[in-house]
């Protein structure tokens, strides 16, 4: 269970980008986060695995408080949080297998990592997962030889190799064509069911959010203003989420505050 309460993030000295945000994700549901650019979706996701330092508030994952971890403890917690990126973020010059196994770096010894002698269990798991997403025959290819959809599959497998307790995906399909994009969304939904894994997806495509996720969270200006089943996302809700600009919102927020 992921429980975020009273989360505030402020970059530098300006207005907070996340404002006293609360969000709880229970069970193995696929949750999508929508909102206009600059709403703070990426910031929220990155606060969870601490690629971005939260300013205040609390984030707990299965009863571990994440916001105060440091050094080795933080790394141990990060092992349990998988992340999939919009730009795939693969190491181009390594093979697909090495990219996939880099999801295990937090677990294996430095020697095994350097010599590429991965544990048998990890290799078996890698092949199974790659088989599952249809890239097993690329194991020895270099990552930059793959197409976008295939690369994102590598990204997904890398995250799953961590045996995560939650999967974060920051616009995982935004660099893909519509068909591949749907395939990846379907894959994330199915894997969530199969692996009993909660998945949190930032997405701009509302149609895909409705189609492939169990719950939609709408963000605007650092706050959650919608949180319901996909069916409940009507035109009125959409307008509330997407109208105006963060800047205009910000000005409005200031007026409210004063």
């Amino acid at each position: 269970m992921l429980k975020i309460s009273d989360l505030v993030k402020r970059y530098g000295g300006g207005e907070p980008v996340l404002k006293n945000l609360d969000l709880t994700i229970e069970g193995e549901s696929v949750v999508s986060i929508i909102g206009s650019s600059g709403a703070g979706k990426s910031t929220l996701l990155r606060c969870i695995n601490r690629l971005v330092e939260p300013t205040s508030g609390s984030i707990t994952l299965n009863d571990t408080e994440l916001t105060r971890l440091r050094g080795a403890e933080l790394r141990r917690a990060r092992r349990k949080i998988g992340m999939v990126f919009q730009g795939f973020n693969l190491v181009d010059r390594l093979t697909v297998m090495e990219n996939v196994q880099s999801g295990r770096l937090g677990y294996i010894s430095t020697w095994a990592a350097l010599t590429r002698r991965y544990p048998k269990d990890d290799i078996r798991r890698a092949y199974e997962l790659m088989e599952r997403v249809g890239i097993a025959h690329y194991a020895d290819k270099r990552a930059d030889e793959l197409s976008g959809g295939e690369r994102q599959r590598v990204g997904v497998v890398r995250a799953l190799m961590q045996k995560p307790e939650i999967l974060l995906a920051d616009e995982p399909t935004a660099s893909l064509d519509p068909k591949t994009s749907e395939q990846i969304m379907g894959l994330l939904r199915d894997l969530s069911r199969e692996l009993k894994l909660p998945v949190l997806i930032n997405i701009h495509n509302v149609h895909e959010a409705r189609e492939y996720t169990d719950r939609i969270v709408g963000m605007r200006y650092g706050r959650i203003i919608f949180d319901d089943l996909p069916q409940a996302l009507d035109q009125e809700a959409m307008d509330r989420i997407y109208s105006g600009s963060p800047a205009a919102d910000r000005a409005g927020g200031l007026k409210e505050a004063s």
Binding site: R75, V91, D92, L105
Partner: protein, 267 residues
């Protein structure tokens, strides 16, 4: 309005300001040259004499004398070894220096400045000056030469490698940090593969340069073919000197061919 109404027949390529700037640069250049010519301490009679002297000297080099060819080739091979071993050690030693001197991998500001200091002092002191120092320390011989080449090469390789590290794609680094990998493993998996091509290219380039540099180490007593050359010149044995020069020419050209081949193979 007809074409002739314009009456623009005083075309110039540059505006007045541009022209003035150009004249200023030209005047400055001429002034610098005039200053250098008028104050440099040369005996002008020698200058006019120089072509004749050169012709005379080359005349005495012909034909090259190959009697010592076997010894020359043996020392030439030794020269290659100096260059190769020194490059190998330098390349290895430059790795930690590059790591220190790259802003995105260095542990803290103090280490960054240590790294930069090593690079600058290594790079701005020529191999020959390093060789002077190490001949004074280790005595004449190959060790001084190898260490001199190493000291100069560390800065060269380290600087280019450090820049390559600073220019990498940061996204894979972030992705691996998100998996909970330690700093060292992130470097090994996300940074090292990205700088590998630069690493090989720079190493080959430096080897090629070092081959040239190692031919002159002997002139300050630091081993290699330069010692034979110096000996031949000091005894006015110009025909043997010619053989040595031809051997060096052959070596350098061969080195260029080999490094071009390696570049094609590896990159």
């Amino acid at each position: 309005m007809t074409l002739s109404d314009a009456r623009r027949d005083d075309w110039t390529r540059f505006s007045l300001k541009q022209r003035l700037q150009r004249y200023a640069v030209l005047a400055f250049t001429l002034l610098a040259i005039a200053w250098a010519v008028s104050s440099i301490e040369v005996i002008w009679a020698w200058v006019w004499d120089a072509p004749e002297q050169m012709g005379d000297l080359f005349g005495r080099m012909i034909p090259p004398d190959p009697t010592n060819l076997a010894a020359i080739l043996r020392v030439l091979w030794e020269t290659v070894n100096i260059a190769t071993i020194a490059t190998a050690f330098a390349v290895i030693l430059s790795l930690p220096v590059a790591w220190l001197a790259a802003q995105n991998t260095t542990p803290n500001r103090a280490t960054l400045w240590v790294g930069r200091f090593i690079l600058v002092s290594s790079r701005s002191i020529n191999t020959i000056i390093w060789a002077l120092l190490f001949v004074a320390i280790f005595g004449p011989g190959i060790v001084a030469g190898i260490v001199a080449i190493m000291f100069r090469s560390i800065g060269f390789v380290g600087k280019l490698l450090g820049e390559a590290i600073e220019e990498i794609d940061k996204r894979p680094v972030e992705a691996l940090e998100a998996t909970g990998a330690s700093r060292f493993k992130v470097i090994a998996y996300a940074i090292v593969p990205q700088v590998m091509p630069t690493f090989w290219a720079v190493s080959i380039l430096r080897w090629d340069i070092n081959l040239r540099e190692s031919t002159v180490l002997g002139l300050v007593g630091a081993g290699g073919i330069g010692i034979i050359l110096q000996g031949a010149i000091d005894t006015f044995n110009w025909r043997e000197a010619a053989t040595v020069l031809l051997a060096i020419l052959g070596l350098v050209i061969l080195g260029e061919i080999v490094s071009a081949w390696l570049r094609r193979r590896i990159l």
